[in-house]
């Protein structure tokens, strides 16, 4: 069938809509699909049974969606998930919204009730196209089977081009069942869709001028640099100019953590150096970032002395939150490459920026306010220590996938990232339960890599059913549950802002469930660790398991907090690097 499907692409051979759909997915280069069948999508699962495409039967459609996201980020390709109509499709809503916020290229295929039944409140009918309009890059409802190949080709093109994002293709069951002819298109034309990837040379010249004139510039690096695979060009730009670099939560790994110019992650839980680096700069060079509220804090006091160069492939991001001096619409990699070329030419003319005092200042801040944490006095386990050791033992070639909350912040800070696409998390939407299914997807996409899900005990209980999928399908992920028996980030806010009134954040998950037994029940290896002395050995034991999933229950101190912190809605100037401790800057250096 696979040989045939390639050769008969131009013959317009007679097939069912379902066969046309599977052939189209094959032609689009799909290798793996995460999904669950059901009534409306059932016709598609019949030809899928014979296809070279691997279908991974998950336990919940949300798992399929996040797996497609993890797959997409780990491989740099498009992730694919499939579900039936109604509840199958609505269970994809969270992953689609998540992918939309984080610009993850993904195609979701859903079955829909038969065309004649649409709009009649039929069994398992939900208007998934209507529901997902605000949370997809684009979506389609297919009722004519002849449209299937074109729509699939357009869906993949839309998902991966321009600013990547999720695309949903909803196919009526009647279209899957009908006879049609299959012909893979040679070209598509979307008259309203023309992403600009080449930056305008005038803007590059203007940006170059500002960069050379500035005295306190900073490279504000966002997730767009990862999506456009711009890490090499970014490093060239940074090393050519000597400008300090901050990488946002979505950009961790775009620039090596070990690099001396790297100030770390900015924002609400950013390092003091990264926050100060933006706050006190006179020029922000934003590369594929979007001035998210978690980065800027109170907007009116964010980096008050800075001019802004804002490069993004999405024109709507430019000037959305922060006024811009030099807007550059374009693909990050091309923008950075052009900046490197322009600045190199200037250097050859003897024109370089003078950033010496600034570089000294931020280096001083970085040295005086490194990331740190308190070791619990009672000898219990510090969560930050677990992640430090995990980073050290598993190394920068591993892929780390986080849930959302304290453990996510510790994982972004205390694991050292050296490579792009090795840090996968839910940045924009902040979806608890993201880690296990996304790690599963990452492992399918990169089977040779060690994949760690770093999860909280709250998050883990939202999606751990996918461990069954992992065991049965041979997807040996590793899960480090940072178990502080509470909804830790919410608890931290209750500690700081609600006088320690811990309303509904106590999960008691050191008691129930027993994570080791739970792992065992799923056919995974369950390990537990509650003493600092056992951390290394436990991680090594987990590293040795390579045939089934491993779950490590790291039973950590429950009062550990995430620092530094800028309280929500306040100015970045109010950053504390530990409770009640604000940094002091020697601004005479500036």
């Amino acid at each position: 069938m696979t040989e045939q499907s390639a050769s008969d692409s131009s013959t317009g051979e007679s097939v069912t809509g379902a066969q046309s759909l599977i052939k189209s997915l094959e032609h689009a280069g799909v290798k793996d699909i995460f999904g669950i069948p059901g009534g409306a999508i059932l016709p598609a699962y019949d030809p899928l049974y014979d296809s070279k495409i691997r279908h991974i039967l998950v336990r919940h459609e949300q798992g399929a969606g996040h797996a497609a996201q993890g797959y997409a980020v780990a491989t740099g390709g498009v992730g694919v998930c499939m579900a039936t109509s109604g509840p199958g499709a609505t269970n994809l809503v969270t992953p689609l919204a998540d992918a939309h916020m984080d610009s993850v290229p993904m195609v979701a295929v859903t079955g829909q009730v038969g065309a004649a039944s649409i709009g009649t409140d039929a069994f398992q009918e939900a208007d998934i196209r209507g529901i997902t309009m605000p949370i997809t890059k684009h979506n389609f409802l297919v009722t004519n089977p002849a449209d299937i190949p074109r729509v699939v080709a357009e869906a993949f093109y839309l998902a991966r081009s321009g600013r990547p994002g999720p695309v949903l293709v909803d196919v009526a069951k009647s279209a899957l069942q009908a006879q049609t002819s299959f012909e893979w298109p040679t070209e598509i034309s979307l008259s309203g869709y023309r992403p600009v990837t080449r930056p305008h040379s005038k803007q590059i010249r203007e940006a170059t001028r500002l960069i050379l004139e500035s005295r306190r510039p900073v490279l504000y690096v966002g997730g767009g640099t990862i999506r456009s695979r711009a890490h090499k060009e970014l490093r060239q730009l940074a090393e050519l100019t000597g400008i300090p670099v901050v990488t946002t939560l979505m950009a961790r790994g775009a620039f090596p953590d070990s690099h001396p110019q790297h100030l770390g992650m900015p924002g609400m839980h950013g390092t003091v150096a990264a926050v100060a680096g933006l706050q006190k700069s006179d020029l922000i060079i934003s590369l594929g970032a979007r001035f998210d509220d978690r980065v800027t804090g109170a907007l009116d006091s964010f980096a008050p002395g800075a001019k802004v160069i804002h490069a993004d492939i999405d024109p709507a991001e430019i000037g959305k939150n922060r006024a811009v001096d030099v807007p550059i619409v374009g693909d990050c990699r091309e923008v950075i490459a052009d900046l490197v070329a322009a600045l190199t030419a200037e250097q050859e003319q003897g024109n370089t920026g003078d950033y010496e005092g600034w570089v000294k200042f931020v280096a001083g801040v970085k040295m005086r306010y490194p990331l740190g944490y308190d070791t619990p006095p009672d000898g219990t386990l510090a969560p930050q220590y677990v992640l430090e050791r995990l980073s050290h033992i598993s190394g920068p070639e591993s892929i780390y996938v986080a849930g959302v909350g304290q453990h996510q912040m510790w994982a972004t800070h205390f694991i050292q990232y050296e490579n792009p696409n090795t840090w996968i998390n839910s940045g924009g939407l902040g979806t608890m339960g993201f880690a296990v299914p996304a790690a599963m997807g990452a492992k399918v996409g990169r089977p040779e890599a060690t994949v760690w899900a770093v999860d909280g005990d709250g998050c883990f209980q939202m999606t751990n059913q996918e461990l069954a999928t992992c065991t049965i399908e041979g997807i040996p992920i590793k899960v480090a549950v940072i178990n502080n028996e509470s909804l830790g980030m919410v608890r931290q806010w209750q500690t700081l802002f609600y006088e320690g009134r811990y309303s509904n954040t106590d999960l008691q998950s050191k008691r129930i469930p027993d994570f080791v037994k739970l792992a065992d029940a799923y056919g995974a290896v369950g390990l537990s660790c509650e003493s600092p002395a056992d951390v290394d050995e436990t991680i090594k034991k987990a590293m040795e398991v390579d045939d089934v999933p491993v779950v490590v229950d790291f039973r950590v101190h429950r009062d550990a907090m995430v620092w530094p912190m800028v309280p929500a809605g306040t100015s970045n100037d109010d950053i504390n690097y530990a409770r009640g401790l604000a940094p002091e800057f020697e601004e005479d250096d500036l």
Partner: protein
């Protein structure tokens, strides 16, 4: 806040109106009026959207609209450089005693009587928002039984056309190896 008139060319496909209306509401913009209809090209519809916003949010909503795959082109029409019309139909109380007066008033506005009943006259009137407002004020003393009004449609003056556009860009589709 100022009033802006956007002419939006969209692909004539089901669901496009829902996408545009949804975008305005979720981004927090109120639409003053919206009119949609066919154009000289059967595959393209044209929406005339009147919004009341500041300059910066207008730029943002235009950019967000442009991101919709089915939106082909957006042009802001300057009211000094374009013709803007709305259509109104009003059912006014008019009987044998005052029908003459009502008809005289309608004639002043160049309205057109489109239906007559023993106790009402139905008038059709086109014009800009000011003219229609003035007309309603004049009709009110007679007693307005029913009123319906379209959204505004607008077109630029002069010979230039916003619908002239480059042929859609064809993108090659990757073929399997």
């Amino acid at each position: 806040m100022t009033v802006h008139t956007l002419s939006v060319l969209v692909e004539n496909r089901p669901g496009v109106l829902a996408r545009i209306a949804g975008l305005f509401s979720r981004r927090g913009f109120n639409i003053d009026s919206l009119a949609v209809g066919p154009t000289e090209d059967s595959s393209v519809s044209r929406m005339t959207i009147v919004v009341n916003v500041e300059e910066t949010p207008l730029e943002q909503v235009t950019k967000q609209l442009n991101k919709l795959v089915e939106v082909i082109k957006i042009v802001e029409l300057d009211d000094r450089d374009s013709i803007e019309k709305e259509l109104m139909m009003v059912k006014v109380k008019a009987d044998v005693n005052n029908r003459g007066q009502v008809v005289d008033a309608i004639a002043l506005f160049r309205g057109k009587v489109v239906d007559v009943a023993p106790d009402t006259i139905t008038v059709q009137l086109t014009g800009n928002a000011d003219k229609l407002r003035d007309f309603v004020a004049v009709m009110e003393p007679f007693g307005i039984r029913e009123l319906v009004q379209s959204g505004m449609v607008a077109i630029g003056r002069g010979s230039r056309s916003i619908t002239e556009r480059a042929k859609p860009l064809a993108v090659p589709v990757e073929q399997p190896a």
